[in-house]
Symmetry: C2
Subunit: 396 residues, 2 copies
């Protein structure tokens, strides 16, 4: 029985478009060969979808070669054959001795590959500030090819990803359906005396179970659902041995994911009769959120969005010293954010149709926090929320 190859989730024309946009950016940046190691970028260009990014792997895009080249651990090559649109000539598995070795390095293999094709004399673009491009990878490439000419290609493909196509938006709408279910289940199940882990388990299951029509994926960030004082900071989660108590604030930053495309959403639950200061924060944030969303349209800049938000909450007593949103979409751990657009002072990005942004003005105070966010799509003449979910402090 032969292997069924090329089970991709978009038309080939979609990948062609992505590749042309990537090569355009490479050309404009003077990059002849691009080493892509970010797993979301690898997926975006080729379809590759496997949890193999804990070893070094990548996709090499060459200006004058039609197909990118996938390289990875030999035992993952069938993963590339199955999940990408690439032909056999573009799939290269390296021997296992390169994996986490003290004597050699996968970049020795890559340097040999570049030399074999004469690409070591071309300008090489590298994703220098990426989880998946360690300092040692750069040092090894430089040791192997001393006269290597490199350019920083950090986020080069991420910027192409920032504007979504219609087929991508369809997956993001499906992710939004999953997220709606997940958030509803979380809020319904939080109650005084219930173990936090049991609600988290329902969330994690629902993220994958999806809907009756389609399933979901494990999102790029685990369920963020701290309670009590753990809500005073941005990235703690449930306590596996604790039950919810009266007087708890519970933050829920949860996503649905479909074909690795995300829909994140944040909401806040209070157990009991909410104190006035929390009610005030909630009212301020929800008002600011909506006043700002009304303002968003193609042509506005990221920093103008943030300024509008800051204007909205002025005088309320609520302060928000960190960015209030970021582009998101296709991703793997550790982040569903795209590391391109940030809604904050200084970001001059002009929003355009097809961008997808998580407007997330999380408030983390001395001993508690409040979150109410909206993922939105920039449309032809405004913006559209991906999820229609009540904006309020939920009381249980």
């Amino acid at each position: 029985m032969a292997l069924e190859r090329n089970r991709i989730h978009f038309e080939r024309s979609e990948y062609d478009r992505r590749l042309r946009k990537t090569k355009e950016r490479m050309d404009h940046a003077g990059i002849e060969v691009l080493l892509v190691v970010d797993p979301a970028n690898m997926n975006y260009l080729t379809g590759y979808d496997g949890w193999s990014f804990y070893v070094h792997q990548g996709v090499i895009v060459v200006l004058d070669r039609e197909e990118p080249i996938w390289f990875g651990r030999r035992q993952d090559s069938n993963g590339a054959r199955i999940t990408t649109w690439l032909t056999e000539d573009s799939i290269l598995g390296y021997p296992d001795e390169y994996v986490q070795s003290r004597y050699t390095h996968t970049m020795v293999y890559v340097a040999n590959l570049l030399r074999g094709e004469g690409w070591d004399r071309r300008v090489l673009g590298l994703e220098l500030d990426n989880y998946w491009f360690s300092a040692r990878m750069l040092l090894t490439l430089q040791e192997e090819i001393p006269d290597l000419r490199t350019r920083d290609a950090t986020n080069l493909v991420n910027w192409v990803r920032t504007v979504k196509s219609d087929p991508e938006i369809r997956y993001m709408r499906e992710a939004a359906e999953i997220c709606t279910r997940v958030m509803n289940l979380a809020i319904e199940n939080i109650a005084v005396g219930t173990m936090e882990k049991d609600v988290a388990a329902i969330v994690a299951g629902a993220q994958i179970a999806g809907t009756d029509r389609f399933g979901g994926d494990s999102p790029a960030i685990f369920p963020i659902m701290p309670s009590g004082q753990n809500t005073s900071t941005a990235h703690l989660t449930f306590d596996p041995d604790r039950a919810y108590r009266s007087g708890d604030v519970v933050l829920l930053e949860l996503a649905g994911a479909r074909r690795r495309y995300h829909a994140p959403l944040s909401r806040t639950v209070y157990l009991g009769d909410p104190p006035a200061d929390l009610r005030n924060v909630a009212d301020t944030v929800v008002r600011g959120l909506n006043e700002t969303l009304d303002h968003i349209r193609p042509g506005i800049t990221a920093e103008e969005v943030e300024a509008r938000w800051r204007e909205s909450i002025r005088g309320s007593g609520v302060e928000k010293p960190s960015r209030v949103g970021y582009a998101y979409g296709l991703n793997y751990v550790p982040d569903w954010g795209e590391h391109t657009v940030s809604l904050r002072p200084g970001d001059k990005t002009v929003l355009e149709r097809g961008m997808t942004i998580h407007f997330m003005p999380g408030i983390w105070l001395d001993t508690y926090g409040f979150e109410c966010s909206e993922p939105f799509l920039v449309t032809e003449d405004g913006c559209e929320k991906f999820i229609d979910f009540p904006q309020k402090l939920f009381v249980r």
Copy 2:
């Protein structure tokens, strides 16, 4: 209401021991200041436990300073106050402008910190080959401190982690209890016609629900549970839109996790009457696994373990060209492996009491695979399996 600090899951003496072992290794390597960015290493030394590693953060260990210093995004500082044993003087939150900026970099902040303390003139150890230490981090440090003296400290703390203390082993046994439940549920629920996503959802929920006595965590690797031809490679997973079919092989590489300590286990299910070649592979692997486990005791080297395995399967027709196991324990995404001991030719590590290794001789053939693994603890006079689970090809 003041913040409740220092909610750590080990005695202070445990952290003191870890820190002394780390400083011993630093001293022997000529490293005066160690920048730790691996989230598992940060947790190991301080207790820090948050999903904030998608931005640059770290722990700085200085030979002649008692406490390490945690630095991270300001909105995560309360996470450090709550989850670590550190005192206020050792927790430094940086302003949000450093996050994913095109104009500055968190390493500018770190360089200023080093200079302010005079540590820029000391020898700095860096985890050069780590997901969380990008090439740009090194380049920025070098730009900021041109005469910086650095040493490679990749896996320095990981090697300390490799030998577990009794309190760590207790968490790993709890993780093993969770894993046993998870694996049982997976196998019970796999059936012809059942949606793969529905079984994956049960798995993801059970990983967090844990047992009646304690809850679990989201493991460092998502549920790896491919079916059919997707089992011919190591890192694909369930298809969210597919139901199991008669004739499917299903691989299950699943973990329980407790306080970020793991217990991974692999098993294989066949739906229908298994073909002879799959039965043969299963028999060979199970026999080889047990013959090898019988051989393990303190004093044997990692490569000798692998050689024993290779000897066991010789002549069977089964080949295994990749490593057959690795050290594991405390971890975050993307890997529960510790990147220290590998069971493969050339690894001279002498196994010692307290090491925890996942013996994982996964077999990936042209169109299907087989997995049966055992996580074990090296004991005083042999080894002990963490999980007592039937070793066979499960037939459903």
